[in-house]
Amino acid sequence: MTVTNPRVDPKGASTVRTDPCTPVVDFSKLKADFPLLSRTVHGHRVVYLDSAASSQHPQCVLDAMDHYYQTTHANVHRGVYTLAEEADRLYDAARVAVGRFIGAPDPEHEVIFTKNATESINLVAATWARSNLGRGDVVLLTDMEHHANIVPWLMLAEELGIELRWIGIDEEYRLDLSDLDRLLDGVKLVGCTTMSNVLGTITPFARIAEAAHRAGALVLADGAQSVPHLPTDVGRLGCDFLAFSAHKMLGPTGIGVLWGRRELLEEMPPFMGGGGMIRDVRHDGFTPNVLPWKFEAGTPPIAEAVGLAAAVAYLEELGLDAVRAHEVELTAYAQSIFAERFGDDLRIFGPPGTAERGGVLSLAYRDIHPHDLAQVLDQAGVCVRAGHHCAKPLMRRMGVNATARASVYVYNDESDVDVLADAIAEAGTLFA
């Protein structure tokens, strides 16, 4: 095995430039960038349709992390020697790259590395909310939230006596904003997903944020599903906090991001205590470090930050507009193939129009249980998720215990959808 010319600043996307200003991406060639997609399962090539849970990695992300470990690794913020300085520089550069990716006005101070989106939301709950909310204060959530944006607030309801309110959903699986102003009355914080991990619904986040700000509330965006798939600009979203995970955007597990407005982050108390997050420690107290290190106790995920930066570079080379267009096309293809082959036997939960949904397709086929469906699909090499997708309140609202969820990303193509459809048909035969 040889690794030729591993670069810290990887480029690797299969782009064909016809014009120096407008890269045209040939998405049909992208599978070759992802080593895992060349393996087989049960004698079939892997058809990976579970990117809403976790995405695969292009070679350049793996190379960037390998290269870091093989040439550069040292702890950050603690050494004066060359390796440590290089590690420092890579870690800081990753922060800036990620900040630019989401349009952060002040990436050096406003991008906090966490473990994942879940930890990012917990950070806001444990620091901002605990120091700003008390008994009877209201946090407004939506019926579409992932458990990661529900349970931290339920914990605070138990601990502090805060009250939770919920924005419901309509019959086409959109947020029901008809009563938004009344729901916002007296609310201190709104926690809202930008894209449902079950329905694919892209929420009208900017509109909610504007109304929330008018009502004097802050707004936290759970961007775990949208940041990997849609162009993101925190200013345009109008959020005060944005949480997302690297492993859903071609990056490694173990690192996530919290972006927050600087003035809010400055006021918030530290999250976890330890090394790195302090200015000074005495027998009788400590002085917290400045941003962003105030929120990053202990040795951070350095190699993971390097991998995330490589993933961001890869996505930027593809262009998020192109990624979005590719997924819209693929979703529309899946919808038409499913309608053609299965008619009313196959139900897709979520808004019908591709403009208001991402490439997350929660399916019900006849009365075949999602576990059975997923089992038959696995036999054909098709990876989909079956279950409640960590959104039990939403599933109850939908009236189902579980769905089978197929979700697409940059490396998927029409042939993957065809294999999925064939496998669904086989399940239909088996359980006829």
């Binding site: 054909a380 039990k392 599933m395 215990n401 579980a402």
Partner: protein, 173 residues
């Protein structure tokens, strides 16, 4: 489809399509016990009537995949009319079938799936006598699909709890 015959045996599909003893019993006098598989959201409710040390009637309700539903159906047919001691023995045998085979499979990528929440498979589990299992032997193939073992054992664990509760409530205070 190749590879799935071991899982979806005809008997299993038959019990899934036409479940035996599906329904409810008035509780009391029956014991009503709920079982959940938090992993997939499957739930089963077992109603078991114990009289004079015997399972005189049993029903199950709830929703779940073909494995959990057919296992509940097969279980209900197998224990109805048996003494509580015989039913308990069958539960042990069935769960041994689920764990012994798994151990024999070795350390596959999902080799950690042996825990089914009840934690009562000791190291002394013995290979079950297939003769004693009858139709239940059709569920043997489930052990090749470790993620699904919990589906198969859900109703059995729930029944075990129901028998415990029946015996507790029968014991004079």
């Amino acid at each position: 489809m190749t590879g799935l015959e071991d899982l979806y045996r005809e008997i299993i599909l038959d019990h899934y399509r036409s479940p035996r003893n599906r329904g409810e019993l008035p509780a009391p006098p029956a014991q009503r016990v709920e079982g959940f598989n938090p992993l997939c959201g499957d739930e089963v409710v077992v109603y078991v009537r114990v009289q004079d040390g015997a399972v005189t009637d049993i029903r199950f309700a709830g929703q779940g995949c073909s494995i959990s539903q057919s296992s509940a159906s097969l279980m209900s047919s197998a224990v109805k009319g048996k003494t509580v001691a015989e039913a308990r023995s069958l539960i042990r045998t069935f769960k041994a079938m689920m764990s012994v085979h798994e151990a024999r499979l070795g350390d596959g990528p999902d080799g950690t799936g042996s825990s089914n929440g009840s934690g009562d498979e000791g190291p002394d589990t013995v290979a079950p006598d297939p003769e004693s299992l009858g139709e239940l032997a059709a569920l043997q193939g489930v052990v090749k699909f470790p993620v699904r073992i919990k589906c198969a054992t859900l109703s059995w664990n729930t029944l075990a709890q129901g028998l415990d509760e029946a015996e507790e409530s029968a014991t004079p205070a």
